[in-house]
């Protein structure tokens, strides 16, 4: 149990981490109220506790401040510094997020930036694929909803995401 480093009074429930070159360079433990004042979390509403936010985002996004958040990949949270230092992408969506940096890299590696060759034409027609939810897109929508404070929509999206993650959306019928 740790006290908030900002007010020194309340129990710290949120850790703010500074990321540089893909590694954690510092961290601060703050309470929910100070976090709100520091702009780390959106203003509190009576029906929406920080724990709910953490729950919604799977406990990963609240650790970063807004400035980092906009630059990170919305699909997987990969930071630009991490992409630069490791040269690895975190998820399919990273190809869009880091497009500007990726293009010269692909040119250097392959002397090309565009695919020629096989694509999964058969996959698109497969019944499984047609009902496959794009989880990355759902995660993005969920995050947008939370940031826009559209909590009812967010709750619905969270349920959709959970179902999709369990593979139910990929099978024929969502089972309850």
């Amino acid at each position: 149990m740790q006290y908030c480093t900002a007010c020194q009074k309340a129990i710290a429930t949120i850790v703010v981490m500074d990321l540089s070159e893909g590694s954690v360079t510092g961290s601060q433990h703050v309470c929910a109220e100070c976090a709100e004042q520091l702009g780390v979390t959106p203003p509190k509403q009576t029906k929406f506790a920080p724990e709910m936010l953490e729950d919604l985002l799977g406990g990963i996004k609240t650790e970063r401040n807004d400035a980092t958040l906009t630059e990170c990949c919305p699909g997987c949270g990969l930071a630009p510094t991490e992409f630069r230092s490791k040269g690895r992408l975190g998820c399919p969506r990273c190809y869009d997020t880091f497009r500007n940096e990726l293009m010269p890299l692909l040119q250097r590696i392959h002397e090309s930036q565009t695919h020629t060759g096989r694509l999964p034409s058969t996959m698109a027609e497969a019944p499984d694929y047609a009902e496959t939810a794009d989880l990355t897109e759902l995660r993005q929508k969920l995050e947008d909803a939370v940031r826009g404070e559209r909590y009812e929509e967010a709750a619905q999206l969270r349920d959709d995401l959970r179902r999709a993650e369990r593979g139910e959306a990929i099978d024929e019928e969502p089972q309850q």
């Binding site: 992408l89 190809y95 695919h115 060759g117 096989r118 694509l119 999964p120």
Partner: protein, 386 residues
């Protein structure tokens, strides 16, 4: 000049590498404890069968595809829960009938390090997969000609092997398998970038075509650097026996493409074959030169010294063993020695690897003990006096 007949050259009761179809590939059952049994775990898999076109020089052709699933972060970014979910999702889908090959799925999590090392030595999994902290597995067919690594750097690393030099045949088997897999697993791809992979070096086709070559002639005549330059000049990679970062033990080299974006599958095949064709022809030319005139006696001396070491030495490191077996393999193919079968040499190549050696002898051995045991085992396998 030729070696007199040495008997069958197979110390373990013979049996071709493809006779036993009921083997549980790579699923090393703990109670197969007759070391002289014809257990398939101790027989080379498809890559080391010693058959196929140009098999005196080309050991095997391997095609690998990197594939990832939509809706999951790439493997290195998965947390434990996602990693579990991905693992069960993939293994469930792989278990459904209808794939061109019947696959047995081996969960790597519960098995010992020694068993994992055996899979590495059999070229079924990468060293990275063997040491991964994620939940990983491999799906293998009965004759080890297909091995799908699960949760490697990419969600799926699909591999198809064929003995000798047969890129078109191996590729068409892969194409059928890939089609089937794409129907049951939602792969991540885009029109622009093709198949999306964790590392941009694999983006596009996700294809790596590699041919393993045995090039003692080029090594002995010190032309190997010039030969590998041929490949490197057209952006191909030349690696050792166990791929990335490994040395060219036993004069074995792997030639593979590095470019995966902007060249389609058949262009990649042409690129690799251009270099491989040239290198194979070059190896033949230097082999002929090594058997002519004054060079012949030096070559004979080299082969027979290696044979002498295999027959008489009491301590053999795996590196020395590979070097001697390489010379013996060369001697057999150039008819400098007879009485030994390529099958026996191939099996010796496999069983002299540390994990196979320990598994075969049912002992955990210290390196020094291993070297003694290896010397003894190779004498047995090659039918030499004890």
């Amino acid at each position: 000049m030729g070696k007199e007949s040495k008997g069958s050259g197979r110390g373990n009761g013979g049996g071709g590498a493809s006779n036993d179809s009921n083997r549980d590939a790579g699923g090393h059952s703990p109670d197969d404890n007759d070391p002289n049994s014809n257990n398939r775990n101790f027989q080379p898999g498809a890559w080391l069968e010693g058959t196929g076109p140009e098999n005196d020089i080309a050991i095997c052709t391997r095609v690998r595809l990197a594939r990832n699933l939509q809706g999951f972060p790439f493997a290195p970014s998965l947390d434990d829960i996602e990693s579990e979910r991905l693992y069960s999702f993939i293994t469930e889908r792989l278990a459904k009938p209808g794939l061109p090959a019947h696959l047995s799925i081996h969960d790597l999590e519960p098995i010992e390090e020694l068993e994992r090392s055996m899979l590495v030595e059999r070229h079924l999994i990468s060293r990275e997969l063997a040491s991964s902290q994620r939940h990983t597995g491999v799906a293998v067919d009965a004759n080890e000609s297909v091995a799908i690594m699960i949760n490697e750097e990419d969600h799926l690393r699909i591999q198809v092997f064929g003995s000798g030099l047969q890129p078109s045949e191996v590729w068409s088997r892969m194409e059928r398998l890939d089609d089937q897999l794409m129907q049951r697993l939602p792969m991540a791809w885009s029109e622009e970038f093709g198949f999306l992979t964790s590392c941009p070096t694999n983006t596009g086709t996700g294809l790596r075509l590699s041919v393993m070559l045995h090039l003692p002639g080029l090594v002995w005549s010190e032309e190997i650097d010039k030969a590998t330059n041929v490949a490197q000049k057209i952006s191909l990679a030349v690696r050792g026996l166990y791929g990335e970062g490994s040395r060219a033990l036993g004069d074995f080299y792997q030639v593979s493409n590095q470019i995966t974006l902007g060249r389609d599958e058949s262009q990649i095949q042409d690129d690799v074959m251009l270099a491989v064709g040239r290198i194979v022809q070059w190896e033949r030319e230097v082999r002929e030169a090594l058997l002519r005139g004054a060079a012949r006696v030096r070559t004979l001396d080299r082969v027979h010294r290696a044979l002498g070491t295999l027959e008489r030495s009491q301590i053999l490191t795996s590196e020395e063993a590979l070097g001697c077996l390489s010379a013996l393999r060369f001697g057999i193919h150039t008819q400098l020695v007879d009485g030994f079968s390529i099958d026996a040499v191939n099996q010796a190549l496999l069983l002299s690897q540390p994990a196979h050696l320990q598994r075969y002898t049912h002992q955990t051995l210290l390196p020094e003990e291993r070297d003694q045991r290896r010397a003894q085992l190779l004498r047995e396998l090659l039918g030499c006096a004890p």
